[in-house]
Symmetry: C2
Subunit: 340 residues, 2 copies
DNA sequence: TTGTAGGCGTTATCAC
DNA sequence: GTGATAACGCCTACAA
C-alpha cells in the first residue's frame, strides 16, 4: 500500500501542491474558496495524512517532546513504578496531546547522555525529572532547545524550573510531628544529592528541629534510597534499636509505606506505637492502611504547568521571567500520626 | 547553531557523502580502510548525529514504536496510575531502548483513532493495551504495520497477541478460596467487556464454583470499574449487606486494596473476618497491609516479550506462527486469605 | 573503491 | 490566487 502524498491530493483536486500546503497550514487566505473546497474534498476522499518526517525536515519542528525520568541502577528501567512519576507522566501526556505534541518517554542510562536522542529526533523541547551529573546538563544545553527541569535545584538560568518549596515542606512535616508532642524524630530518606529535593526536605527537617530546640542527631538519619525496601529496613532498625523514637518523617510516601511495614513486622503499630508522616501524597497514600498523613503536592498540576511553560518557551511567547515556578504545598492529615 | 549534516562530514573528511553513508550503515565493505578512518575521525570531531527525519523519509523506517494504554473516561488521562501499566511500560521502554527503538506513549481518546498518529509518525509498529471498539482495530489494520495486543482476546489473526490464561487464573484464585473452606464467595470486578481479560477471569470464577458444586449468584457479582474506588464501595456493601460472605475474589489487585479499605471502614478485618484474593501481583501488593494474596503474573516478562515479538515481526523474521503467546501464572500466597 | 545525482514528502520562494 | 521549483538531510542506484 503506497502512501498518499500531497501530490496525490494535488492531482485529484486538480491544483498544485502549494495550494494544498497553504490550505492545510492555516494560510487559507492565500487560497480561493473554490479551490479550498476542492482540496478539502480530495483530502477527505483520499484520507490524506501528512508525513511529519518530511515536515520536520523542512521546518525544523518535530512536535515531539522528550520526557526523561530516572531509572533504577540495577535494571536500567525507568522508575515509573514510583507512582509519583506515573502520575506526573500521565498529566504531561494528556496536556501535551491537547497541544498536538507527542511524547517520547525514556529513562536515561547515566552513561550516554540525552544529546543524541534530542538531535536525532529534532525534539522541540524536553522535560527532565531527576538529578544527574553536571555533564548531563551541559550536554543538554548544547542541543539548544527549551528544557524544563522538574524538581531540580540546579542553579543554571538556561533551564526553566518547576517545583515546590521542599525545604518548607520538610519543615511542615517535621513541625506537625513536633506539634503532636513528638521530640524524638527520625528522618528516613533517599540519597541526599546536591541540588536535589531530598536535600531540601532534609534541611527543612533540621530547621524545624532547631526552631523547637530539639537536638539533631546523625543517628536519626536513615539515608539510603527512595524505595519501599529501604523503608522496611529503616523501620526494622528503628523498632529494634531505637525504642525512644516516636515520630518518623519519610521524605517520600513510598518510603513511608516501607517504614510502616517494617515497623509492623517488629510488632510496632502505626500510629499507636509510632507516628509516620510522608511526602508527596501520591494516589496510593490515601489507599494505604492506615491512610498516610503526608505533605500534599499537586502532582498533576506540576505536569500540566511544565507542559505549558515548555510550549510557551517553544513558541517564544514572552519568556515570562519566572525562571522558577513554585507550586503550593499543604499538610494532609490522615491517620498515621498520633498525638502523644 | 547550524546542524551538522552529512555534507559537513564529507567536506571535513575529504570524501563523498556516499562514503559516509556507507560507513555509518553497516556497509563498511564498500569503503576502503583508509577512508573509513578519515570518516570516523571527522564524525568524532564534528560530533555528527544523523537526522532521523531525513533517514525515515528515505527508507520508511522511523525506529519509533507506538505504545497505547487506555485512559480514564473523566480526565482523558492515561491510566498510568494503575501500577500494572506503569510496570509494563517500564519494561517495554527498557527493552525497546536496548534495540535502539524509541517509544511514543499515548492514551487514546476513543473518539479519534490511532490511525493518524501512526501515519504521521511512520510508526514501525505498535503495542496496544486495553479493549476498544471494533472500529479501532479495523482502522489500525489499515496502517499496515505489525501490532501486538497485550491482554486481548480479540479474535483476529492480523494481530499478534500476548497474554496469560485469565480464565485459568480466575479459577486458581477462586479455587484457593474454596480450598480454604470458603463457600460464600463474591467477585468484585471492572466492567466485563467482551474479549477482555475480566470476562475470562469471571468465567474462571464460575468454573471453580461449578466444580465445587457451589451455587453461583448474581448478587455476589460486583461489577463496575477496575478502580480502588469501586473496591471501597463493594467492600462496604459486602460488609453491610452480606454478612454471610467470607471470601472475595478481586479481578485486580488495585480493586482488592479498595475492598480491604471498605471492609475496614465497616469494622471488618482482613483476613480475620473475611478473606480477599487479588489478581496481577503488582509491586504494591506485597507492600500492602496485609500483604495481598493474589494471582501472580510476570508483568515485566510480558512487556519484554511483547517488544521482542514486535521487533521480530518488523524485521520479518520467520513469523513464528505463535499467533498468541501465553505466559505462566501462579498463586502467590500472602496474608489476606485465611482458612476457615 | 569512489563520487554524482535523483528522490523521499513537505514547505516556502518566487515568478506568473 | 496560483503553480513551478528549490531546498531540508539522507540514502542508494548508477556511473566512473
Amino acid at each position: 500500500m503506497k502512501r498518499i502524498t500531497i501530490k496525490d491530493v494535488a492531482r485529484v483536486a486538480g491544483v498544485s501542491t502549494a495550494a494544498i500546503s497553504y490550505a492545510l497550514n492555516g494560510k487559507e487566505s492565500k487560497v480561493s474558496t473554490g479551490t479550498l473546497m476542492k482540496i478539502q474534498e480530495a483530502v477527505a476522499l483520499l484520507n490524506y495524512i501528512p508525513d511529519f518526517s518530511a515536515r520536520s525536515l523542512v521546518n525544523k519542528k518535530s512536535y515531539l517532546i522528550g520526557v526523561v525520568i530516572p531509572e533504577t541502577e540495577e535494571h536500567n528501567q525507568m522508575i515509573l513504578e514510583n507512582p509519583f512519576y506515573s502520575e506526573i507522566v500521565s498529566a504531561i501526556e494528556s496536556e501535551l496531546r491537547k497541544h498536538n505534541y507527542h511524547l517520547i518517554l525514556t529513562g536515561t542510562d547515566k552513561g550516554k547522555g540525552y544529546f543524541d536522542l534530542s538531535m536525532q529526533r529534532n525534539l522541540d523541547g524536553a522535560i527532565i525529572m531527576g538529578i544527574y551529573h553536571e555533564s548531563f546538563y551541559e550536554e543538554l544545553k548544547k542541543v539548544n532547545i527549551p528544557i524544563i527541569l522538574i524538581d531540580s535545584y540546579i542553579n543554571d538560568t538556561y533551564f526553566k524550573k518547576i517545583g515546590i518549596d521542599d525545604r518548607c515542606g520538610g519543615g511542615l512535616a517535621t513541625r506537625h510531628l513536633i506539634e503532636n508532642g513528638h521530640t524524638q524524630i527520625a528522618i528516613v530518606t533517599g540519597e541526599i544529592k546536591r541540588n536535589g529535593v531530598v536535600e531540601e526536605r532534609f534541611l527543612g527537617y533540621q530547621d524545624a528541629l532547631a526552631e523547637a530546640n530539639l537536638s539533631y542527631s546523625l543517628e536519626y538519619v536513615f539515608e539510603e534510597s527512595t524505595s519501599y525496601e529501604h523503608g522496611v529496613l529503616a523501620g526494622k532498625r528503628i523498632a529494634s534499636n531505637h525504642p525512644e523514637i516516636t515520630g518518623v518523617f519519610a521524605t517520600a510516601d513510598i518510603v513511608a509505606f516501607g517504614i510502616i511495614s517494617g515497623l509492623n513486622e517488629c510488632g510496632k503499630r502505626v500510629p499507636d506505637d509510632i507516628s509516620v508522616i510522608g511526602f508527596d501524597d501520591i494516589t496510593m497514600s490515601r489507599m494505604f492502611i492506615p491512610p498516610l498523613t503526608t505533605i500534599h503536592q499537586d502532582i498533576k498540576a506540576k505536569g500540566i504547568q511544565a507542559v505549558n511553560c515548555l510550549i510557551q518557551a517553544i513558541q517564544c511567547i514572552a519568556s515570562n521571567d519566572h525562571e522558577k515556578i513554585t507550586l503550593p504545598l499543604s499538610l494532609m492529615e490522615r491517620q498515621s500520626v498520633k498525638k502523644i
